[in-house]
Point group: C2
Chain length 198, copies 2
Amino acid sequence: MATVRESKSQKDRKPREERDDRYEIRLSGSGGHGVILACVMLAQAVGLNHRKNVVQTQSYGPEARGGASRADAVISSSEIFYPKTMKLDVLLAFTQEACDKYYSDLKPGGLLIVDSTLVTKVPIKNSYGFPFIRLAREKVGHPMVANVIALGVIAELTGIVSREAMRTVVKARAPKGTEEKNLKALQVGFDLGKKMKR
Amino acid sequence: MATVRESKSQKDRKPREERDDRYEIRLSGSGGHGVILACVMLAQAVGLNHRKNVVQTQSYGPEARGGASRADAVISSSEIFYPKTMKLDVLLAFTQEACDKYYSDLKPGGLLIVDSTLVTKVPIKNSYGFPFIRLAREKVGHPMVANVIALGVIAELTGIVSREAMRTVVKARAPKGTEEKNLKALQVGFDLGKKMKR
């Protein structure tokens, strides 16, 4: 209840986490893209292995219906009083619908990452496109790990989470028997991200 | 930002969702109990199949460290401005540690559901105990589906979500090849809950 109860003088100031290093990420796509699991893994990796607080959220209901699926994470060194995203630092979109629906939530200069096969109309200039689903099929032999490739790219491009932390969580959360494929997918993502940074 | 920006007169009133039917659920246990996946499924079932808004949340970070794992869902007919739980209507605890840590977050008269094998010291009178993990092993042949048995119990005891909606989501989210086991676990939960209601 902190945000509701704060005094008038506090009310005029930005929430504490906004003043320092609040960082917001949204992963979006449609049903089968595994964006919720990916966001759970990302949040857990950041939260357990770094001195950060993370709140990971998904919303359902009449307003959230339709084909687009999304999951959000808010990261901050301070306590997170307001866990809803306000202006995204990073948006991942697996589909054109998700991209169209959410890109306006990106802050100026925010990072847009899309599946370049499925998102052909990119609404802003500074974006990164990768054929995640095709790469998952061709490099790992399984289209379902496209979400983990994307996690590797996000980790590498943003630096918000270490490779080691991501590996630990992906290995622990992968369905039994798929650990190696998921770790391979993560490495594909790290490599893609690293190449882009140069 | 609604809660932060509301005017003074609004500030003195309870948030809108509190005034009507805000309903808060926490699922807790330790790492392997699958409480996050269970909460994602519960939230999705409530949100997609009923005229409700649901925000599903998990937090990570220094304060959240230790053995206990938890996932929260807030359900309301109104827009959910404040997605953090304040007073729980339902708490599920798979471990003694989780029970000890969270039972004080239950509202008076709130529903405490525990794994009766693992939680032997129950701090309040009105609680329900079920040997979820033993039942998962004995009735479904797989201890990993204890979380889905618990979902069935919660659905049945609270009435917040229909059996049909739960079945649809559990079937869709179960790892490939485990759909039947998960649906069986859900039915075990429905039956347990129904028996308790009598």
